[in-house]
Subunit: 377 residues, 4 copies
Amino acid sequence: MTGTPAPQPPLTAIPGDLQSLSDYERRAERHMPPETWHHIQAGAGAGTSLAANRMQFDRYRLVPRMLTDMQGATTGMELFGLRHAAPILLAPVAYHRLAHPQGELATASAATALDTTMVVSTLSSIPLEDIAQAARAAAVELGRTAPPPLWFQLYVQPDRAYTAELIHRAEAAGYQVLVFTVDASVKRSDFTLPPDVDAANLRGMPRLSQNASAAGGQIVFGTPLLDAAPTWESLAWLRTATKLPIVVKGLLSPHDAKRAVEHGADGIIVSNHGGRVLDGLIPPLDALPAMVEAVEDRIPLLLDSGVRHGTDVLKALALGARAVLIGRPQVHALAVAGMQGVAHMLHILRAELELAMVQTGCARPAAIQRHHLADGS
Amino acid sequence: MTGTPAPQPPLTAIPGDLQSLSDYERRAERHMPPETWHHIQAGAGAGTSLAANRMQFDRYRLVPRMLTDMQGATTGMELFGLRHAAPILLAPVAYHRLAHPQGELATASAATALDTTMVVSTLSSIPLEDIAQAARAAAVELGRTAPPPLWFQLYVQPDRAYTAELIHRAEAAGYQVLVFTVDASVKRSDFTLPPDVDAANLRGMPRLSQNASAAGGQIVFGTPLLDAAPTWESLAWLRTATKLPIVVKGLLSPHDAKRAVEHGADGIIVSNHGGRVLDGLIPPLDALPAMVEAVEDRIPLLLDSGVRHGTDVLKALALGARAVLIGRPQVHALAVAGMQGVAHMLHILRAELELAMVQTGCARPAAIQRHHLADGS
Amino acid sequence: MTGTPAPQPPLTAIPGDLQSLSDYERRAERHMPPETWHHIQAGAGAGTSLAANRMQFDRYRLVPRMLTDMQGATTGMELFGLRHAAPILLAPVAYHRLAHPQGELATASAATALDTTMVVSTLSSIPLEDIAQAARAAAVELGRTAPPPLWFQLYVQPDRAYTAELIHRAEAAGYQVLVFTVDASVKRSDFTLPPDVDAANLRGMPRLSQNASAAGGQIVFGTPLLDAAPTWESLAWLRTATKLPIVVKGLLSPHDAKRAVEHGADGIIVSNHGGRVLDGLIPPLDALPAMVEAVEDRIPLLLDSGVRHGTDVLKALALGARAVLIGRPQVHALAVAGMQGVAHMLHILRAELELAMVQTGCARPAAIQRHHLADGS
Amino acid sequence: MTGTPAPQPPLTAIPGDLQSLSDYERRAERHMPPETWHHIQAGAGAGTSLAANRMQFDRYRLVPRMLTDMQGATTGMELFGLRHAAPILLAPVAYHRLAHPQGELATASAATALDTTMVVSTLSSIPLEDIAQAARAAAVELGRTAPPPLWFQLYVQPDRAYTAELIHRAEAAGYQVLVFTVDASVKRSDFTLPPDVDAANLRGMPRLSQNASAAGGQIVFGTPLLDAAPTWESLAWLRTATKLPIVVKGLLSPHDAKRAVEHGADGIIVSNHGGRVLDGLIPPLDALPAMVEAVEDRIPLLLDSGVRHGTDVLKALALGARAVLIGRPQVHALAVAGMQGVAHMLHILRAELELAMVQTGCARPAAIQRHHLADGS
């Protein structure tokens, strides 16, 4: 299109002015076609949830405990019996090849370099087996025995046989945790994938058109798409279909948190899908405390949506999350500088978290408590 | 006037960038003379109520219940024994011909097409009988047995004989519910109707001048206009004058809600008249919960003023409203694209409501409850 | 000064676009020299009190009672046994001749025309006797037996004999209430009166220089100016020096309200001096409720600072004030159009108050109650 | 650098438009190189703590007590048995020679002229002995027997022998209070000192590089810098190393306040280091009340960070602080006009405090109480 300059290619070295996740976000726009940039950044509706996801952290101030002895301090922690180097994971994000030609291969290598778990999306633009292989290869190159634990995110597909096959492929490829996303089965989107990007894991799988007409005078209700949306029964089925830990992603109420426990979930990701699905949804940090209370420590809760600073991680943990996931920043860093960018972005966030822990006197993630927060003014 | 371009004629096809009620609002200005646009958009005084009407919805966040089975979901509901396809009605708005040459005829056809109840204003620019006829004709054309229920809005006129005649005309024309507006008998306005637009229903009826002088050194008090303003006695009289359900529009206090029940009202529309009458009035969503409590389910409460999104409808219902009315968006859509515009605008709002119900797990309007809301941060 | 256009002369007719007190404020700047404009408008320090004085009213929303019978409605009320046509008074403002050559003479005539009490300042630029005479002359011209009650504002001067003389002059000239201002004895100002404006009532009276040096290494403490500042003892003395009702202006705490009652005050004006004296003072509407409770109906409280709309008056009365005073708007209207301007400004405010009373269902000032307000969102 | 004008030299006379600390701040940028200006002004991270430090004061409104007798009023007070002329101290600020060639010598002379205590930083750009000497010389010149009490701020250095030597030097030079800063041992900075500015007190002392690599895959944790950070044990040691009163600077929680008392601290400076260390820390005014309650009057608390107005001092004292410290304004005034600037800035702040005390009716610092504040709206 005349007037729109072509996106700049990814950088091959990190400039000195990229010092925060916000710096990457500001820079990323130049490295993506406008429609892709808009698709990545957009929130649903008027964007109030998108904004609220950022402001949720500003409601809290940090109350430090000074002069703490930090000998032997660590960010390491366990989830589902697996060691994670820090309470920061890469959230499932579709189609990394929208941001960079190497797509999820670059992300997986960077995540491995920073000892960070990547949650690979059902809608990855590289087959899930190849991503796992890239993670293992990066570990070997770094002289480690194994990459950090790999997780796989699942949209339950209308055809359960296909879904079961997808699960078995993930298990076979070495994924150790399944994330069942429940909040995005019906949504509006005008975005069309470019011809060289597709849902690599779903090739050959039957998919529902979003344009089927509705029944009974309704517009959305009664469409095949809606009828195929997952229900609690889907979770019950999933529980029988795999032995891997199942983490339900997209819950926001104490009621649903309890039901998830009852249906055998091993964890919950509290998320409003980055403000992308329904405008006005409660920000996850606001939803978290009541959900933590509801599950009574039976399963861990993780927090997704809006995390951009090390202090955000600390705030989420202080309110009861066991870890956080970051979404869009992966895409920003990938677009700016590929594998190097993602590795650097993760390094920034980890360094910020460690500094925040030092300055508040928390030598381990579990030491981060509610008394480290005060309500903001 | 030199320098002011003539308004653009209504569009004959809907452009792709009209995707929300806000899009229609932004676009509508081009399709109306400036003084009409200002008249439609203006709020009283400094406009704080107008702004508060929008912000009232932002005070609440949505708390979804995920994984709900949505088989057989519907927006349909009953009011006064009449089936309504969705809890969304077109509020009474005066003089549709200010926005489009076909005026209320276009609106009624569009409302019928979307199976939506229109509340026809006493101050319609087309005779009420012709509007009802347009609705029936549209139903026939769509192969339906009848249009959605038609409601008629009444300003009680100083002369009760004339008012009674107006009621009988509405009854004879097939209107099934009467809306008695109580909050706009005395207000300031500088707007003058253009020569080709008039109050079609009131032709030949004696009307009070707003310029009569006041008594006793007061400025407003003691004017004939004020002396003719409706009182609770007017409602008592109206109760004797018709067998149709009577809905009182413009109440904002629990005290008045109770009195309305005592005087035989069948419903209440909680409204601050779109912020047009007195600046600083409580926004209806703030007033609603105490009023719901006051009437103790004896009659339904509806909410008017500020609704622009499907999630707004959901929030109003969660706080106890049985349905909502939308005002200015009718005018915007009518000015932009006539009948097609109104139909499209209603389609957008309905689709948004259905999506919001899906994403919060509400399969019927009655399933929308207070626990679906959290206070905003 | 080159580049600054000379102020425009006062208008001789009111243009149609002056429809609110804000319109007068916006217009007034053109009619005053910049340094005078700045002096009138300025708040102390960073201006936070000035801003808070406006925002204090936005904290409340109006909850109307509809369908009330308004036959015989009136704004009239009594204070200290004197009938006042409305609960709106002109606050004491120094040096009206800064705004218009006729100064307080024009203001007094306008106030009489609108049957409004003027509180004449000790620092008037016209002798207090001439102002009283102008009010009486205006009443005669309007065919009335007397002007509305005139009040006189007193700064207690360092020399009590002079102060006593001032009181006797005010009594002799027919002033019926004394306002004792207590909050402005020590403040900073860079403004210099132009040569043709002076404190007409104080000609020949000894005055303290503000530049006297301080004692004991302090900067303000120990200066003669501070030592001459009024104390509770001054009020006790004043109580013996006059039989007129005494209203203390400038209190903001329940503690001081009680002490004023104990020292024989007949009324209190709750005021932060329009945000001019100390930045950060509590806005009077915030201070009012606790003060009302403290005085237990023994004396009336009035509210000053920030009133600009009829609904502001209603809000102040709902929170317990018996009347309000308006300050800067007098100066704005005087500068824009002299006597006509002040009369028109008062007419606007009165009309707005009457409309607000109609629309909330209050037929008398005493009918305005706390239940007419809700907290803003 | 082309395009950046050289900084202006310090002024030799104070222009009339410098009337507040904000005026100095606005002016100072012109008198410093851009990178120094940025270094002085910057807050950590997104700057939310920096902004919150200012806004913390706006949460409170002043509730005056009028008509108080102010004979004999004073700002004077005692701390640790030493008389201080006002509850305002100069906070420790590193490297004054960044702002002015005379550095701490100019500041000390100005502080003495205004009878104000200066807290000299370990990181002063002039040897601590020379600063003390400048203060004494200024006192002699003013005909006083002694300068106001001098305090010395200590970063506990990794090598305790060196730290002990520093303490003995400070004692020998006449410093009477030690301030132990605990909140800045590990932080990020890109700023490099210019060649003519150094840490004059630490010449010859071994220092840790901030670039040492971390242990165990962590980024900050396990670095030598972190291992050398002070702990409660450091305070216990310090208590044995000096007989001077010890004030711990940088605590923000009631828990730490109690521990400081238990470890023998004589006072606490509640501070978030001007928002420079960790973004999101609680503003000190928010932290203060719970800390005051925790220490139960056993030791005095002082407040640092964000004070810019006389009313800020009054608010801090009303919430329980015994005195306040001001940081950046010293640097601004020093850059603008050297010794004269600092003296004028202190004069402004003292005059503002005295005016605020007059206008709220407080004749002594101890008279300033919680009832002088109301929550802001």
